[in-house]
């Protein structure tokens, strides 16, 4: 492919990449997307030499002045857009940028035009970066980088110096005539791609080492916070229902100690409520106090003054990556003891919920150490105890109209003696006698709980949990409602739980005399499946999510604190730093490693025939790969069919020339090399010398130097052959 054509192609590729980035990030208006896309396709077809498109573009009755007027009109449109249509600088600017790109694509003639197009595409990719943090930016960036390297390289190679007459000729085999440089040769192809790879490698190194300075006046988060519900101080019964159909990821919970014993159910506690008025849950113990900071960034929660159990439960460590939510609640497995992260301060209320001072506008990462409360053996046979007045006021409160519920609770538990047995009886009653459904229109009811328990017997987690709390309280067992998330989607590639909006959940915390607050969930486990489809798709989805997580962690969230940590690690010792680096690398490549191990595990179950098939396929692939490496068909492809045709054409011309000379009595012996034949001809027929030399030079170059002649050279050679025919030999 000639340099000029390759340059036009890579320039369009560059523009197209930035356009796709901007379309994905900004959501351009449909008309603008279609228009820009069409302009890119037309430019591409023109470059490919489609004559109809060329004619169409050539017949456009727009002069340079017309294009300039269009630019001015676009600028006017930008102001109108900014002031009245979009009402904001950024979208209006992006729209104007696309208009400029369209105009430039149609007027791509001078080198200056190319520079303008590159500037536009750079601003577009920059704007795209300001509008997103999603994983798709990575492939777009990579494409842009490759296109950028190719474009800059070709732009440099097509730069000719003015006014310099150069005389060049090869003196050493293999010959390198000056014309060869106008083609993208295989060497240049690999060199450009190698440069692009090296640039990418260096980009990653510089990205991680460049000091992060946050000294700006224009800092903001990315996009809007995710709207969630069920985590404010007051929650209406049934409020969680609508968000249970939303698959947006709200957090990822990584467990450094490995997968939990029971993969599939992991409770992430948000807030708890003590007061229920028949329709609404309220947290009356919402007085928040600052949590003391033990070390820098480490906050330790003190247990409440209420009866405290001995710390016998299992310790659960979690690293949580929380997406920006519209609530300041900090989620963690029950019951959080210590929270670490880069927070200015943390607060907690009296029932163990943890809060940020205000909702975060960007993704945050923090670590939590929690300890679950196991049921102590002493509680298995202990009678209910008397609680302090304040405790009763909060956790044994029942709305006035709950007599039927009290009767039901008494009926369900009349055979049980201990508190724990009673709680389990109610749990069992709710789990087995009610049907889970999100389509339960109980929100508008006067007495939604009674409607759930006695009429419809269908509901979802909130109804189950509220029913259990009310029934427990009716028989004198302190209980409270907790909202949070029930994580069920374990990502084996990244060793973490993906928590989505649809995992929002409500459950119950029951107070046992000796064990303290324990978690009980009356909602049946046959929760509606997250989605159907093939398991392979789910696996792929989980793999993508892991990549998304690593992208967010290593690129989007990378901060000065991370750099400091790396420096500290390096100071601490090379072994520690090496281990950390290895950990990071293994985390980064964990999806691939996991997939590989999965394949190995799967392969161990294969039969001999399956093995033979796979090995045969691998062998075939190897052969194809070897063929590709040896033959390098892409190199030929780059030179293109057109040039191969040119090569054949010059061979034909040479044949015609020798025939013509033979007619004039100058025959070429088969043993005579072409250049010697030129001298032989010049001695006998000097007038024909230059024509014969020219055609022979092109022939030798194409035949032995693998450099086909250009179209112009072929037409010149044809002219020389015509002259040769008309010349008369003296």
């Amino acid at each position: 492919m000639p340099f000029d054509q390759a340059l036009r192609f890579t320039s369009i590729w560059l523009a197209a990449t930035s356009f796709i980035g901007l379309t994905l990030g900004a959501g351009l208006p449909e008309w603008l997307t279609v228009l820009t896309g069409a302009a890119l396709i037309v430019a591409l077809l023109r470059n490919a030499g489609r004559k109809s498109v060329e004619r169409l573009a050539g017949s456009m009755p727009i002069s340079t002045i017309g294009w300039n007027l269009l630019v001015m009109l676009g600028f006017l449109g930008f102001w109108v857009d900014m002031l009245w249509v979009s009402g904001d600088l950024l979208p209006a600017g992006i729209h104007f940028l696309m208009i400029l790109m369209i105009i430039k694509l149609f007027t791509l003639k001078l080198r200056r035009d190319y520079v303008h197009l590159y500037a536009i595409s750079l601003v577009a990719i920059l704007a795209s970066g300001s509008l997103t943090t999603e994983l798709w930016y990575l492939p777009i960036f990579l494409l842009y980088l490759f296109a950028g390297v190719w474009t800059l390289l070709l732009f440099q190679l097509t730069k000719h110096s003015e006014g310099t007459q150069i005389l060049t000729m090869p003196v050493v085999v293999p010959p390198q005539p000056s014309e060869s440089v106008d083609q993208v040769t295989p060497q240049l192809f690999w060199l450009a791609n190698g440069l692009a790879l090296a640039t990418f490698g260096l980009t990653v190194v510089i990205f991680f080492t460049i000091p992060r300075i946050s000294a700006g006046f224009y800092q903001k988060g990315f996009g809007e916070n995710i709207r969630t519900s069920g985590f404010s101080e007051t929650v209406n019964l049934g409020e969680i229902g609508p968000i249970k159909r939303d698959p947006s990821v709200v957090m990822r919970v990584e467990l450094p100690d490995g997968a939990p014993h029971e993969v599939g159910r992991f409770y992430v506690r948000g807030v708890a409520f003590d007061q229920y008025d028949g329709k609404t849950w309220t947290n009356r113990l919402n007085y928040r106090r600052n949590i003391s900071e033990d070390a820098i960034g480490t906050f330790v929660l003190r247990r409440s003054r209420l009866p405290a159990p001995p710390a016998l439960g299992e310790t659960i460590r979690q690293n949580i990556l929380l997406e920006p939510l519209d609530t300041p609640v900090l989620f963690a497995a029950p019951f959080a003891e210590q929270v670490s992260g880069t927070f200015p301060s943390l607060q907690s209320d009296l029932i163990g919920s943890v809060y940020l001072p205000f909702p975060s506008s960007s993704r945050i990462e923090y670590s939590v150490r929690s300890r679950s409360n196991p049921v102590l053996s002493t509680d298995l046979d202990s009678e209910p105890i008397l609680y302090p007045e304040s405790f009763i006021r909060h956790f044994l409160q029942i709305p006035a109209q709950s007599d039927r519920i009290a009767t039901l609770a008494a009926d369900v538990t009349h055979t049980q003696r201990t508190t724990y047995e009673k709680a389990n009886a109610i749990l069992s009653f709710l789990t087995h006698n009610f049907r889970y459904s999100l389509d339960a229109p109980l929100t508008g009811q006067d007495q939604p709980l009674e409607e759930f328990l006695f009429t419809r017997k269908t509901g979802y987690c909130e109804h189950y949990a509220t029913a259990m709390v009310m029934m427990l309280r009716a028989i004198g067992v302190p209980a409270r409602l907790v909202t949070g998330f029930l994580a069920t989607e374990w990502n084996e590639y990244g060793n973490y739980y993906v928590v989505r909006q649809q995992d929002a959940h409500a459950w119950v915390e029951v107070h046992l005399p000796h064990s303290g607050w324990i978690t009980m969930d009356p909602t049946p486990s046959s929760i509606e499946s997250v989605g159907g489809g093939f398991p392979a798709w789910h696996a792929l989805g989980r793999m993508m999510d892991t990549l998304r997580l690593q992208w967010g962690r290593f690129f989007v969230q990378y901060s000065a604190a991370d750099q400091l940590t790396v420096v500290r690690e390096l100071k601490a010792g090379s072994t520690s730093a090496r281990n950390k680096a290895l950990d990071s690398m293994s985390t980064l490549f964990s999806p691939l490693l996991a997939m590989l191990s999965g394949v190995t595990e799967y392969a161990s179950k294969w039969t001999m025939r399956a093995w033979a098939e796979v090995l045969g396929l691998a062998l075939l692939s190897l052969v194809v790969l070897l063929w590709l490496v040896i033959k390098q068909p892409w190199g030929q492809g780059i030179i293109s069919k057109k040039t191969t045709h040119n090569e054949q054409f010059i061979v034909q011309l040479y044949g015609q020339m020798t025939t013509q000379l033979a007619r004039k009595g100058i025959s070429r012996r088969t043993t005579m090399p072409p250049l010697e034949f030129v001298r032989f001809t010049q001695e006998r027929w000097s007038d024909a010398g230059s024509a014969v030399a020219f055609i022979t030079a092109l022939y030798c170059r194409a035949r032995f130097g693998q450099i086909p002649p250009t179209r112009e050279e072929l037409s010149l050679a044809e002219g020389h052959l015509r002259n040769l025919t008309t010349l008369s030999k003296s």
Binding site: I125, S161, Q176, L202, T203, Q219
Partner: protein, 372 residues
């Protein structure tokens, strides 16, 4: 303490220079803008773009350095270089790298501390191959031309920076004075008062002296066949003796600084006279200041005389000197050869004339601008 070998340092950093191209300035401005945006917003994707642009800058430097490394140059010079006469200088550049090609090389020959041409371009030089490039060199003044080396630069790979390095290859050339066609008055002077007046005689030479009948013992190669055919008698041609045509050209180097231009004209005039006389078959001797050549003829002798003229320098006359009196020493045998004196200064009373003065055998050739 061990110090690194100076040769390594010299090889690494000596003669390296980098300048930013127009595209490079635009690129750096964009990089700066993205850097400011990244610091302002704290957006890591901006930092990613910034890192990409910085890495392009770094890769530019590294690749350009590799392009310019391990090149080998050879220069081929012509035997004679004359003022204002284009001569082809050839450079052979070889890529001695085993793996990496060099791209977009721009080569400048450096002489007398400056680049001699706009630059010769070598687009691609594969590993282990050579390429021959040539350029027309036009010297603008006579004297010694010191070619110090070759300056090679590249904008590869991205055209953002122009990196240059210098390969020393020393060559010394002598630029002969410009040879111009002699003016008619000078030619006439030479005919009337000069060497053309000398009596010709028979001898060995090239010019025809006489035709006579063949005699026994004559060289058969001297038979003049056209006359023999016309007259039906064997006729031989006799040639004019050339050893008799001897001329001494004297160029006075004494001239005040105000006569600098005139002195150069005088040197050029002397060269043109020598050229003219040499082609007329004269034995020539040149006296320049106190330098004196031997009598001789032929191309090598003429080249030697031109070299003498090329390196001669004007001498300011000593205080109190009224007329140029440097023509002393061996008495000139004016009877046997023609004496031509070319003067740019004729003494204290001389105002700066337009042309140098020519004296042929003591006779002034008036108004002798030699350029046509």
């Amino acid at each position: 303490m061990l110090r690194p070998s100076p040769s390594i340092l010299r090889r690494l950093f000596h003669h390296r220079s980098t300048s930013v191209t127009r595209e490079g300035i635009q690129f750096l401005l964009f990089t700066l803008a993205i850097g400011i945006a990244a610091i302002n917003t704290g957006n890591n994707l901006f930092y990613l773009l910034l890192a990409m642009m910085l890495s392009l800058v770094l890769i530019s430097g590294i690749v350009a350095e590799y392009c310019l490394r391990r090149l080998e140059f050879h220069r081929h010079l012509p035997d004679r270089l004359t003022v204002n006469e284009p001569t082809s200088v050839t450079l052979v550049v070889k890529n001695r790298k085993s793996q990496l090609p060099s791209f977009s090389l721009k080569i400048f020959d450096v002489g007398d501390g400056r680049e001699l041409r706009q630059g010769l371009e070598v687009h691609q030089l594969l590993p282990g191959t050579s390429q021959l490039v040539s350029y027309p060199l036009i010297a603008t003044r006579r004297g010694r031309l010191h070619l110090e080396g070759v300056c090679v630069g590249t904008e590869f790979p991205f055209g953002l920076f122009r990196k240059q390095t210098f390969y020393p290859i020393e060559d010394m050339m002598v630029v002969c004075p410009e040879i111009k066609p002699l003016d008619e008055s000078v030619l006439r002077g030479l005919l009337t008062a000069g060497p053309e007046q000398s009596i010709n005689r028979r001898g060995s030479g090239n010019d025809l002296y006489n035709l006579r009948l063949y005699q026994a013992g004559d060289d058969s190669r001297k038979i003049h066949w056209p006359t023999t055919a016309r007259t039906s008698q064997l006729t031989v041609r006799e040639t004019e003796a050339e050893d008799q045509r001897r001329a001494v050209v004297y160029v006075s180097t004494l001239a005040p600084p105000s006569h600098d231009v005139l002195f150069e004209r005088a040197v050029s005039l002397a060269a043109s006279l020598l050229h003219h006389l040499a082609h007329r078959g004269y034995m020539l001797q040149l006296l320049v200041g106190s330098s004196r050549s031997s009598f001789g003829h032929g191309e090598p002798h003429l080249l030697e005389l031109f070299r003498m003229l090329a390196i001669c320098e004007r001498c300011s006359p000593p205080a109190g000197c009224i007329v140029p009196g440097e023509l002393s020493g061996d008495p000139l045998e004016a009877d046997e050869q023609t004496m031509i004196i070319v003067q740019s200064w004729r003494g204290l009373e001389d105002v700066v004339p337009e042309q140098p003065t020519i004296l042929i055998n003591g006779e002034v050739i008036a108004g002798a601008p030699h350029a046509v």
